[in-house]
Symmetry: C2
Subunit: 154 residues, 2 copies
């Protein structure tokens, strides 16, 4: 199972990708937004908003406040750079080549490691379900909780 933490080069690439996308789309990747993104992607497990808040406060040597963090998160989610895992109120970076919003997640309840997936056939089936119900999708949450190989063997 490829539930390992990201390499330094993968992190660099993902940060660089976001910078490029923002530049070409004229999105304001401000200092705080960048800091929040880096904190999220450098964490190898899903991170909570108030953990980000603590880290931001430390980095800048002054207390930050919740709205600062939540606004940055909103920006990052809107642009597909970050996903929220609703089942655990946590955030993860999107490591797929061109940031998007339709990822699925396996989340280990024991060690919190996670795996981002992007299964087209799954996406197709969900689309069909929606069409069949005359439903227009704006956002899909597919989170699979359970235990990873390591944790289920212990």
């Amino acid at each position: 199972m490829s539930m390992k933490s990201k390499s330094t080069s993968e992190l660099k690439a993902s940060i660089h990708r976001v910078e490029e996308i923002c530049k070409s789309n004229k999105l304001g990747l401000t200092e705080i937004r960048k800091q929040v993104f880096e904190i999220i992607v450098k964490n190898n497990i899903p991170i909570k908003a108030y953990e980000i808040l603590d880290k931001i406060s430390n980095i800048n040597n002054k207390p930050s406040h919740p709205p600062t963090v939540y606004r940055a998160i909103d920006f990052l989610i809107e642009n597909g750079f970050v996903h929220k895992l609703n089942s655990i109120n946590s955030f993860v970076g999107c490591f797929h080549p061109n940031a998007h919003k339709e990822c699925y997640f396996l989340i280990c309840k024991k060690c919190n490691i996670y795996q981002e997936c992007c299964d087209d056939s799954l996406k197709d089936r969900i689309s069909k379900t929606a069409i069949h119900n005359n439903f227009v999708i704006s956002n899909t949450t597919l989170e699979i909780e359970g235990h990873c190989l390591d944790c289920s063997q212990k």
Copy 2:
């Protein structure tokens, strides 16, 4: 789209079903648990914990407290009678014949109406994804947010 509210007979049937399952499995369906279940299923849109709290307080003519409601909800979820919609912090009753835990939801962001689905091929694909990643599933959250037919036409 069958996103209509439940008929009185459907409600009665779902309450009766829960009573029978509890009786045959020796689960303590206490007064409060029953009240909470009825409040949830009689609401035709997903309901929030503190809304349940208000209703319980009114029914019993005395203030209830959050733990009372959350404990009842926990019981109902554990036994597959109720689902939590993580994307909107709300609860819905399970209207499937034999209460279970693997339902999917279409949720209209505008009018809050919802549709409970149970697509086996979707379930299969999710299982395959899990197996492929050596992952043991304990719980799946699949919530599709968007707009229902009525709301997308307006």
